[in-house]
């Protein structure tokens, strides 16, 4: 029987259509159909100026807009050879890591929802709300920030931001244990996720899976550590990898668990960055005229979903001649068929949820 999951379905995380061949409850083949959220990001980018591309990157990965911005501005600054001021670097890292926490909280909460647990979702959204409040306090926007600009950021941090942020971290870090008690160590949750949807390391690498999904398979790969961009080489943090704690290495539980551990690592980075946050002007290194020299560049950064790469080709005019975004969620989705055939319908949705895809980024 052919079952159409989506485009309107409670757990496709957006407008994704999965064409699922089933034999009773068992799934034999999955064909994802994309494009329901295609907004021509790359074509649009060719027709606007370089700084006008940034709001479009917000709308690609709308759950981690800061990280989307970050990737683009890092690539642009390398292309134009701009040295960004220290304060801007620190602010960017703080914002990106806060956004990583927010994005992971949503991913974990929604994953609970996919498995059928409603309450953890709301607990996580409650805490995510405080991060969004901080963003709103800083730059006025709650979801699509357009915060990181080429050579700087749009607004300096408010005066008491450090205090608010430390207060949040002091409140937030003990909360992680509450999530674990409520959801992670629940017997039913472990039964549903452990041993399900195993992505072995070699398959993950051959499909180009990255980010927490790859680390869930036990591969220690994080762009922040292995190819440090911005000032990530100054901070002390660990890269959590899957260990197959309750089942096989690379199962849904591992991917979930890696995200949970990454949250506390991000909090650790934010604490360090807030501690050494230098003073200064955030606008001083911003170029007056953005007209990069002829040439092209590819830079990748670690977004909450994995290696987010930007390829930017410049022909010397104020607008790019080509912008290509490498979407980590797209590659993660590509291995869905390989991983989930032979499992049940409920498992397919559990696996899909554990890949943490964002359709805005897949379709662009």
């Amino acid at each position: 029987m052919v079952l159409n999951i989506g485009p309107q379905h409670p757990s496709t995380h957006g407008v994704l259509r999965l064409e699922v061949m089933t034999d009773g409850e068992i799934v034999s083949k999955i064909t994802p159909h994309l494009g329901y959220l295609h907004r021509c990001f790359e074509k649009h980018a060719e027709n606007v100026t370089y700084e006008q591309v940034i709001p479009f990157t917000d709308r690609c990965d709308y759950l981690a807009s800061m990280n989307s911005n970050f990737g683009y501005v890092v690539a642009m600054e390398d292309l134009m050879e701009i040295e960004v001021s220290e304060r801007v670097q620190y602010i960017r890292v703080i914002m990106a890591e806060l956004n990583r926490i927010a994005s992971h909280l949503l991913a974990l909460g929604v994953y609970g929802l996919d498995i059928g647990a409603f309450t953890p979702f709301l607990y996580m959204l409650r805490d995510r709300e405080r991060i969004l409040d901080m963003f709103e306090y800083t730059c006025g926007a709650r979801l699509l920030y357009n915060y990181m600009w080429i050579g700087g950021v749009s607004h300096d941090l408010p005066k008491d931001f450090e205090k608010i942020c430390f207060e949040f971290l002091d409140y937030f870090e003990p909360q992680i244990e509450e999530y674990n008690n409520l959801l992670t160590y629940n017997k039913i949750f472990i039964e549903r996720t452990a041993d399900v949807g195993v992505i072995p390391a070699d398959i993950a690498i051959s499909y180009g899976v990255s980010g927490p999904n790859l680390r869930g398979s036990g591969v220690n790969w994080d762009v922040r550590k292995d190819e440090p961009y911005s000032i990530y080489d100054r901070f002390e943090f660990d890269i959590p990898t899957g260990t197959g704690e309750f089942g096989t290495l690379g199962d849904c539980f591992d991917r979930y668990w890696v995200r949970m551990l990454e949250i506390s690592q991000s909090a650790k980075i934010i604490r360090q960055a807030l501690k050494d946050l230098p003073g200064g002007d955030v606008f001083e290194t911003m170029p007056k005229k953005i007209r990069p020299p002829k040439g092209s560049i590819y830079r990748r950064t670690e977004s909450p979903r994995g290696d987010l790469g930007y390829y930017i080709m410049s022909d010397g005019t104020p607008s790019p001649s080509r912008v290509k975004m490498r979407s980590p969620a797209f590659t993660a989705l590509s291995c869905l068929d390989e991983v989930s055939s032979g499992w049940m319908i409920s498992d397919v949705l559990a696996i899909l949820g554990s890949l943490d895809i964002v359709l805005g980024e897949i379709d662009r």
């Binding site: 079952l3 647990a117 319908i345």
Partner: protein, 358 residues
């Protein structure tokens, strides 16, 4: 105050037995119907508030009177019910119209018949069967016919999946439920609900009430098996796979809207009421007071019985807002490989216990 009493009463005034019977049944049925509607109204409101407080939300507000412009939203369910009543009643073009329209009634009847046998107090019971336990177990499984009907007639794949899962689940979980309710029957030696409750008079060790759950370790275990199976039979989380929102959209209810859907909802809460009532009767002393020898008048009995039911329904809500959902094969695993063997052993255990200790 049973229906037999009413039949006798009316027979004195009306010569035609059929008319007297119909009149008595109708009069006895109306309070049941009101109870069912009231139960659903209150339970939906309570569920919304309970879930809200568990999730750190505030829940429905703004409807009805309250401290500050309807702070408690007590009329929320009434507003929802009115909305459902005036909604368009859609029937899919490709549906099997007759079965589609019949299914809600069958599910409703299954839930309704169960309430008729519940002993609300030593004097308030609509029908006092001599096989009350058996009757409730039997009518509680009528609902599954309606579910399969609804799922098949909708001509929708999600509905079909939901219906098939539901049929497998309810039929499987009836076995451990039935096996574990044999324990109180063996101990009391009766299937009559009133005699079952009377058996539980008095106290054990002077402190605990002499309820069957406290009688011996096997009956203690049997209560939990029965209650968990009952949760599974009413399709509540963590066993809500037939209507699993994140998998099957709405399962067998996908194509229903308006009042037909409201009837399903009503029946779900009525089913919860019936299984909680049966659990309270068979294991928790029915209308017996939890303090042995005190507060045992019939009116107090009504209070205790409803109190126990409300407590059990609250526990079901607590489950729902805490646990994730099981997978369909894990569900079967729990039923056939865990509950049924334990329930079987329980029967032997309680038999031996009865032989040796009394």
């Amino acid at each position: 105050m049973t229906v037999d009493f009413l039949i006798d009463l009316f027979s004195k005034f009306i010569d035609v037995p059929v008319v007297a019977f119909l009149l008595a049944v109708t009069i006895a049925g109306i309070p049941l119907f009101v109870l069912m509607a009231l139960n659903a109204t209150v339970a939906v409101y309570v569920e919304r508030k309970v879930s809200a407080f568990m999730m750190d939300r505030i829940g429905p507000m703004g409807q009805g009177p309250g401290l500050h412009a309807g702070k408690w939203g007590v009329l929320q369910t009434i507003a929802d019910a009115l909305k459902l009543l005036i909604k368009e009643d859609t029937v899919p073009a490709s549906a099997d119209k007759l079965l589609f329209k019949m299914a809600p009634f069958i599910i409703f009847i299954g839930a309704f018949l169960g309430i008729a046998a519940l002993p609300f107090s030593s004097v308030i019971q609509v029908v006092d069967f001599n096989v009350g336990v058996f009757y409730i177990i039997a009518v509680a499984s009528v609902g599954v016919i309606g579910i399969v009907m609804a799922g098949w007639a909708s001509n929708n794949k999600w509905s079909l999946y939901g219906a098939m899962r539901s049929a497998a689940q309810i039929i499987s979980y009836e076995i451990p439920a039935g096996l574990s309710i044999i324990v109180p029957i063996m101990m009391a030696g009766t299937m009559n609900l009133q005699s079952l409750i009377e058996f539980q008079t008095g106290s054990v060790w002077g402190i605990l009430p002499n309820w069957i759950i406290f009688n011996n370790p096997f009956s203690f275990l049997a209560f939990f098996i029965f209650f968990i199976s009952a949760v599974a039979e009413t399709n509540r989380t963590p066993f809500d796979i037939p209507e699993a929102e994140s998998e099957l959209v709405a399962g067998w209810m996908t194509e229903y809207s308006g009042f037909r859907w409201a009837v399903f909802f009503l029946s779900e809460y009525a089913n919860m009421f019936v299984v909680s009532g049966l659990a309270a009767t068979a294991f928790l002393g029915g209308w017996q007071s939890p303090i042995p020898g005190l507060f045992n008048s019939p009116l107090w009995g009504l209070f205790w019985f409803l109190g126990k039911i409300i407590f059990l329904i609250f526990v079901m809500m607590w489950f729902r807002w805490t646990f994730p959902r099981l997978r369909v094969d894990q569900l079967m695993h729990v039923c056939w490989k865990v509950f049924i063997p334990i329930a079987m052993l329980n029967i032997f255990g309680v038999g031996i216990w009865k032989l040796i200790i009394g």
